[in-house]
């Protein structure tokens, strides 16, 4: 029988690329989270650097703008002693008409060992992983609406840090889910780790009912969606969605789905509030919640570096 292997795993089942959380075994996900715990303590040392990727070149290929994600990948790679090359592709070759695979071929000729890729097209990192040399590793830093696996993993690390066990949790993901690669990666990760109650909360235009197929409960009513939740993940409402037919207005959205102290009281008393950033204060989240005692938005950023160090060191240590 022909069995198609997950392109992220080698024949021993070890991670060689990180393209999506979908289809990864629970042990692989847990191992990344455990390894990230080791790297978190590197921040406490006098020398905040370990030599695991010494002599390796990591190319940050951002075909789509991102300051935060690119910076955290850069910090993670540098703490692993890699040489980091940032390419702002949006402003260079692609605009001159070079194809994606030609760009990759040229960068490979410069002896790249790892590509960290963000692209507006879903699947672009898969294409790169299929066509690069066997010793080259690819990390998806966000592709279209499809996946943002390192954000999903850092969200899981944050949840595990504060809640310890996944198997009793209620997690609400609120906002523009249909356009969100973060939401998709979170849902796959939460499912893989055994979270029994996942709710996708938002208006019908942003949370279509076909999300039920991913094993989540769709709620168009905010109160119902966050009642009794242990974890609330707020998503950024992208400005470009606010015009047109998707939403009446930002004010209207905030009234119905914006997270305020009043709405937060419906969740468990020890609920944590997460957000992948950048936050729109007064659009999807009230300032008093974003800066309040339930918010773990800044710890997410710190954990994100350790998680990206874990991902890069694990894939770099495994052969295709």
């Amino acid at each position: 029988m022909l069995h198609k292997r997950n392109p992220q795993l080698n024949r021993h089942g070890e991670l060689i690329h990180l393209l999506s959380i979908e289809g990864l075994p629970r042990e692989v996900v847990s191992n990344i989270l455990d390894t990230a715990g080791t790297f978190l303590s590197v921040n406490d040392r006098e020398v905040k650097k370990v030599p695991l990727l010494r002599g390796k070149s990591v190319f940050n290929l951002f075909f789509e703008n991102s300051t935060r994600t690119r910076t955290t990948f850069e910090i993670a790679a540098k703490r692993l002693s890699a040489d980091v090359i940032n390419l702002d592709i949006a402003k260079s070759s692609a605009s001159k008409g070079e194809s994606l695979l030609d760009t990759i071929a040229n960068l490979s000729a410069m002896h790249a060992d790892m590509f960290v890729v963000r692209h507006s097209e879903s699947g672009a990192p898969y294409l790169i992983a299929q066509h690069c040399a066997p010793h080259v590793h690819v990390v998806n830093a966000g592709d279209g609406r499809h996946a943002h696996p390192t954000q999903g993993l850092l969200d899981m690390y944050t949840i595990r840090h504060f809640k310890k066990d996944f198997t009793q949790l209620s997690v609400a993901i609120v906002g523009d889910i249909v356009h969100s690669r973060v939401a998709r990666s979170d849902i796959h990760a939460l499912t893989t780790l055994g979270v029994p109650d996942i709710r996708a909360v938002g208006p019908k235009t942003l949370v279509p009912s076909d999300f039920k197929g991913m094993g989540v409960r769709v709620c168009h009513d905010m109160a119902e969606g966050i009642r009794g939740a242990d974890v609330i993940i707020m998503l950024r409402l992208q400005n470009e969605r606010m015009s047109g037919a998707m939403l009446p207005s930002a004010g209207e959205f905030f009234k119905n789905y914006g997270l305020t102290d009043d709405k937060l009281r419906l969740a468990k008393p020890d609920a944590i509030v997460m957000h992948p950033g950048p936050i729109n204060r007064g659009v999807e989240i009230d300032s008093s919640v974003a800066d309040g005692s339930h918010s773990v938005i800044l710890p997410q950023v710190t954990f994100g570096i350790a998680v990206r160090m874990a991902v890069m060191s694990i894939i770099a240590g495994n052969e295709a």
């Binding site: 070890e14 040392r45 006098e46 020398v47 695991l52 240590g317």
Partner: protein
């Protein structure tokens, strides 16, 4: 299995004597994960209480070689290793480093690099339960409770039983 019999508990008693001879009151105990960390923990428990055989002993630290291993590119990340936890200031410290088995010396090299990421110790003294020869680097212990010769294909590892006692396992072909 080899017919070599190593009585880990008897060697531990030997090790206590060796540690006491080398000990000075301004020393700190640091065990290499995992076997060395168990030994350091038990040394502190057995020899740190009144009347203390090791005066001035504090909570021992644990150090892992994972982040400085030289076989990373061949073997990848090791999962399940405890992260380094050093409860004392490394700068200026006299450190008694404990491990179960000394073989090629590569773990000690990695651990020394790891240690120096935390500061500059005044001195590092190495004590091991078993020195099995086969060194590939110029590293020697100040004390070894036993010296044995084993074929390179055999793996010698310390196990801690539920009641806290130690035992050795020899695996691999003769």
């Amino acid at each position: 299995m080899s017919n070599l019999i190593l009585d880990a508990e008897a060697l531990y008693t030997e090790m206590r004597v060796g540690v006491q001879a080398l000990w000075r009151p301004d020393m700190a105990l640091l065990g290499i994960w995992s076997g060395g960390a168990w030994l350091a923990e038990r040394l502190a428990a057995d020899m740190g209480t009144h009347p203390a055989d090791l005066p001035g002993i504090g909570k021992p630290g644990v150090i892992s070689s994972t982040l400085h291993r030289d076989d990373f590119s061949a073997r990848g990340m090791h999962s399940g290793t405890d992260a380094t936890k050093i409860p004392f200031a490394v700068d200026g410290a006299h450190i008694l480093l404990i491990d179960d088995v000394l073989f090629t010396g590569r773990t000690i090299r990695a651990v020394l690099n790891e240690l120096f990421d935390f500061g500059r110790p005044a001195s590092v003294t190495l004590v091991v339960l078993v020195d099995r020869g086969g060194r590939e680097l110029p590293i020697q212990p100040a004390f070894a409770a036993a010296k044995v010769t084993l074929p390179a294909s055999q793996k010698l590892s310390l196990t801690r039983l539920d009641d806290g006692r130690f035992t050795f396992a020899v695996m691999g072909s003769n």
